[in-house]
Symmetry: C2
Subunit: 214 residues, 2 copies
Amino acid sequence: MTTTPAAVVDALRWRYSTKKFDPARKVAPDVWNAIEQSLVLSPSSFGLQPWKFFVITDQKIKDQLPPISWNQTQPKDCSHMVVLAARKTINAADVNRYIDRIVQVRDIPGDPMRGYKDMMLGIVNSMPAADLDTWCAKQVYIALGFLLETCALLGVDACPMEGIVAPEYDKLLKLPEQGYTAVVGCPVGYRAADDKYAAYPKVRFETKDVIVHM
Amino acid sequence: MTTTPAAVVDALRWRYSTKKFDPARKVAPDVWNAIEQSLVLSPSSFGLQPWKFFVITDQKIKDQLPPISWNQTQPKDCSHMVVLAARKTINAADVNRYIDRIVQVRDIPGDPMRGYKDMMLGIVNSMPAADLDTWCAKQVYIALGFLLETCALLGVDACPMEGIVAPEYDKLLKLPEQGYTAVVGCPVGYRAADDKYAAYPKVRFETKDVIVHM
């Protein structure tokens, strides 16, 4: 156990969707590295990791983001702007690449992986392309959860943003050329002292209305 | 900061998709409470919380789950089986209920919420039902991320399971009658001493292949 139950809950109560970042404050390298590794270590269906994460710190690029983010300023003012992207039309080559990686990391021959590989190939070869894209996009939301929880635990602010114009992000960052598409954005950094949203009580339904014991 | 960057990364490296749980070990109440609150505190689009989480500890129900989980045994042997469910055909009533909750928690009049409410109503009233269901399901994956990361931080094992027969879970747990549908399962508890998967090296693509700096 790396922390206490109460400390985790406190951190998750402390976090909020930051509306205004302090452009002068940057996330320190060791803290940023842990946030980034949370993305790398996120679980995904079959372990396929059908994603790529684009981390923007170049101010010239950040300045182009508010107009394609419903004029929200967080992408420009944050320390690190993360664009979480999903693999488009995942296919047999992705399965093969993943199997190769298992064989490499675990230093085993490929044969024992045959059944696992065939199961994954059965899915990517039979599911309609749109369903595969949705499936990959869902996995990206797990990584978003890891990103947000790690930020909270390390006292770093963030703001999940579905309110990005994904086709415009794709075009600006040249994501389709790389086989990916923007799913959700997440500016990371530190809240501005005058972000009034920081003081608002967190709104959640009562636990009894969300959790059912049986 | 409730923990250190290195401790978070260690916890996320420690976690793995547990294939075999120790049926004799149960999660202690204070630890379970923090895990449950991680679900409650998960962020969602607009804060709408289009979900409900079903926590099964009744062994008679758990015993019925492997046959509708591709014969995987974790749902029966774990301490707490969580079924993460998404709201079906989210609608204006959900928006109204959420706005009412904001007004209640923040002790404000409803009028300042008008613009926010109209924006959400515009979405739920115009998006096709299938797209709304997908949107809600995606939010559930954020909660799955929070659930998994909190478990890891608290030294608790878990296993994200898309391999559940959702329509059968719906029927058994009577979810559609409550307006929800099963999206993903997650047994939580402690690994069996002989779960060989615990010893396998974690497989992830190299950081340079997953993270792009710009």
